[in-house]
């Protein structure tokens, strides 16, 4: 049933519907409303067997999930930004141990400069942590993906990150159909752990492995993610049958059949991209969009199949690999290896910079006309950048860039650009 609600509230209700046995979190914006919501529901007795713990750090939150999951409990946490980075060591450990923990990442920029607004720097930085990464386009999809995430995680013994744009989704109110408890119960069977810390059957978990077997263990982690390329669409198809709406999967094309230009992106920005595509289509431009839903595993073959008929590909990403450029682009180009086509990367929306329809329109037109540089920074204020570079070149102590630029910009906290 569609109800007007905040994205975070929908996630909280969905998680409770998935009957986690241990929920453990540390507060960080913009994840807070999700875990507060779960705390409320657990306190109100919505779950009969659930331990909710607020701990002293994200590192501890993931570590509690590791202990709980290894002991056979369905475990959940949520974080963002600095919190995800603070978890990093435990993230690799959770995937290395094959623990099916599910975590929401309310995507947010990483400091310095400290910034609480949305981009994908956080989850992209952990793309090689061994976690499956699913990206939600909307709050409806974010809610649905969590139900699927537990299924995928537990069937493969791999942890799953559900990435949803911080504030843009987490704090947005819109009509959402929260997956009904009974339907979730039918879709998501009780967790039967592949391994468990059990005094009746003592097991050593986390032993030391030397050069004689480490590579094989890592390969098996890769093999499981390759297996996920089948599991993710299968679970999405099953979800659609059970809940009557499409959600998740590996990717989704939008008007790409005859498109000469395809824009690839992930997350909530796809809404604005598709609006822009529609507008340009009306004017006869053969343009389409490709929504990546699963970034890890990366669906190389599916991306290749979706893009091989097109002339040019523009990857729009909300993260920057400093020193090289695009992160998603590198993966898309790997999928297109051997295919000659124009490839562009646009870095957009960093630190919450709004990605407007007007800006996208200009960007797409430049792409269609092949006027783009291989790496473009959407809506970058070149005047400020040049001024700061000039100050640097003049020598002497120039001071921190962030403070210098903010002095020029003035007091206009996070205004729309």
């Amino acid at each position: 049933m569609l109800r007007q609600m905040e994205g975070s509230a929908a996630i909280a209700q969905t998680i409770v519907g998935c009957r986690p046995e241990v929920v453990c979190a540390y507060p960080i914006s913009p994840q807070t409303h999700i875990v507060e919501g779960i705390s409320d529901l657990v306190r109100a007795g919505e779950l009969d067997r659930c331990e909710y713990m607020t701990v002293e750090s994200e590192f501890a939150a993931m570590s509690v999930c590791i202990g709980a999951s290894a002991a056979g409990a369905r475990a959940y946490t949520a974080t963002a930004s600095q919190g995800l980075l603070y978890m990093a060591e435990a993230l690799y450990n959770a995937s290395g141990l094959g623990l099916p923990i599910v975590m929401t990442v309310a995507n947010r920029a990483i400091g310095a400069p400290i910034n609480i607004w949305n981009d994908h720097s956080d989850s992209m930085s952990q793309r090689d942590s061994g976690w499956i990464q699913l990206y939600a386009e909307s709050n409806q999809e974010a809610a649905d993906l969590h139900v699927q995430a537990f299924r995928i995680a537990e069937s493969l013994s791999l942890p799953v990150m559900v990435c949803m744009d911080g504030f843009v989704l987490t704090h947005a109110f819109e009509p959402i159909d929260v997956p009904e408890r009974e339907a979730v119960d039918a879709f998501l069977p009780r967790f039967e752990p592949a391994q468990s810390l059990d005094p009746a059957d003592p097991m050593t978990i986390g032993a030391m492995v030397g050069p004689e077997a480490y590579a094989e263990v890592k390969y098996l982690a890769h093999a499981k993610q390759m297996q996920a390329l089948d599991t993710i669409p299968a679970v999405a198809a099953e979800f659609e049958t059970a809940f009557g709406r499409p959600s998740g999967g590996l990717l989704r094309g939008y008007r790409i059949e005859d498109a000469e230009t395809v824009v690839v992106a992930l997350g909530s920005v796809l809404g604005t991209i598709e609006d822009t595509v529609d507008a340009m289509r009306e004017e006869g431009v053969a343009i389409g969009a490709l929504a990546l839903k699963s970034f890890r595993p990366f669906p190389l073959e599916e991306v290749r199949a979706a893009l091989e008929g097109t002339k040019r590909v523009l990857v729009l990403e909300k993260a920057l690999a400093v020193g090289v450029g695009g992160i998603v682009s590198a993966n898309v180009r790997m999928a297109l290896s051997g295919i000659q086509l124009h490839g562009y990367t646009a870095i957009a929306g960093l630190g919450g910079r709004p990605v407007t329809g007007a800006a996208l329109r200009g960007l797409f037109e430049d792409a269609v006309a092949d006027r783009l540089e291989p790496l473009t920074f959407l809506d970058l204020d070149w005047e400020r950048v040049e001024a700061e570079l000039k100050r640097l070149a003049a020598g002497g102590r120039s001071g921190p860039h962030a403070e210098n630029i903010l002095r020029e910009v003035g007091v206009v906290a996070a205004r729309s650009h």
Binding site: E21, V22, C24, R49, C50, E51, M53, V55, E56, S57, F59, A60, S63, V64, C65, I66, G67, A68, S69, A70, A71, G72, A73, A75, E89, A90, N93, L97, L197, D198, P199, D201, P202, M203, T204, I205, G206, A207, M208, V209, G210, E212, A213
Partner: protein, 366 residues
């Protein structure tokens, strides 16, 4: 998770433990272990029983004379007995983890997990939360690590576990440095000790004075129901404390002094002797604390000067001999003397009329 236990419950548990263990002094035999033979079978140590669980069984790769291997076996076998074999352990990275689990072998006869260096208390909390969620509260949880994993990198997680009162017994096996990585100083390294990065070079030979954490005191400051210190030289005392800790719910802390022949430059056969001397000098007070208050101390049986303890270890070699630093030895003696005063470690210091204070223990087996 919070399940603070009132004083009464602690007292009951202590009384039961006291009834269970006949008070015996083994002055006449000179060894703490051999004295078992003088006891009724029921009163012997868990270690002396043929049915002990051998939670960490033989064949592991610990060095000869390793105090930590010994301490872990004493603690876990006692905890296994107290929990009727329903025990799960979470281990920090470190010697204990490395020497016990060289793939594909494992010494652990109980369910055991190693995650990373700094999170053993949190992993243990997670395991305990899972037991509660599943209604299996008879399954008990131990977290354990060395001093580096406890007082340094795992400190945040440990403090959080204490503060929340999670139902975990955390055990620190303290050998006073990072032994697994090659004997670097930790926040538990004593002053003047030589480590790989506190060498006797320059004007301040060895580790600095005025540094380091008093972890048992920090644990007590959390007002958790039970904190105790012990050494591997006195298995009766150590096992009794494990049993007392296992009789209580909530966050509990046990700090076990475990000599390291490799890191300390001591003879393998001196491990027990050093653990006894550290207590007899006063350098390591052996005590129990309930709800943040010291309730019992193990008295010094025969007070010895710190030299007797220090001279057996090459990490203090720079303090003695021709270019020695007797003034530093005097400062270490002053630390021991202060402990003796502060904890009342000598028989004559027994405060006769402390209200509500349980009778001061004599340190069974000493």
């Amino acid at each position: 998770m919070s399940e603070r236990v009132d004083n009464e419950a602690v007292e009951r548990s202590r009384e039961q433990a006291a009834i269970h263990h006949q008070r015996v002094r083994f002055y006449q035999v000179g060894s703490h272990v051999v004295g078992n033979r003088l006891l009724d079978p029921e009163q012997r140590t868990v270690q002396a029983r043929t049915d002990r669980s051998n939670a960490i069984t033989s064949g592991h790769r610990a060095c000869r004379g390793c105090g930590e291997a010994l301490g872990a076996r004493y603690v876990l076998d006692a905890a296994m007995r107290a929990s009727d074999g329903k025990l799960i352990a979470a281990n920090a990275t470190g010697c204990l983890e490395v020497f016990s689990t060289p793939f594909p072998e494992s010494s652990w006869q109980l369910p055991w997990i190693h995650s990373v260096f700094g999170n053993a208390p949190a992993v243990a909390s997670g395991i305990a939360a899972a037991q509660r969620a599943k209604g299996r509260e008879e399954v008990r949880v131990i977290g354990q690590g060395g001093d580096g994993g406890t007082v340094d990198i795992g400190f945040g997680c440990l403090s959080g576990m204490f503060e929340r009162g999670d139902d975990v017994l955390y055990v620190c096996y303290d050998n006073e440095a990072y032994m697994n990585t090659g004997v670097q100083r930790s926040g538990a390294t004593p002053p003047a000790a030589r480590t790989a990065n506190t060498k006797p070079i320059g004007t301040h030979p060895g580790n600095e004075f005025g540094q380091g954490k008093d972890m048992p005191r920090i644990a007590m400051a959390h007002r958790i129901p039970y904190v105790a210190t012990a050494t591997v030289s006195d298995p009766h005392d150590l096992e009794r404390k494990v049993e007392a800790a296992m009789g209580i719910r909530g966050a509990r802390y046990l700090h076990v002094f475990v000599p390291c022949p490799l890191g300390w430059g001591s003879a393998s056969h001196d491990t027990i002797k050093l653990a006894r001397l550290v207590k007899e000098t006063g350098l390591f007070p052996v005590f129990e604390a309930v709800d943040g208050e010291v309730t019992a101390v193990s008295k010094i049986r025969r007070r010895v000067p710190v030299e007797e303890y220090l001279k057996l270890q090459r990490r203090y070699a720079h303090l003695f001999g021709e270019n020695g630093h007797l003034e530093i030895v005097a400062r270490l003696q002053a630390i021991a003397d202060r402990n003796i005063d502060e904890y009342g470690l000598l028989e004559v210091d027994v405060a006769p009329n402390r209200p509500n204070s349980p009778e001061t223990r004599q340190g069974e087996g000493s």
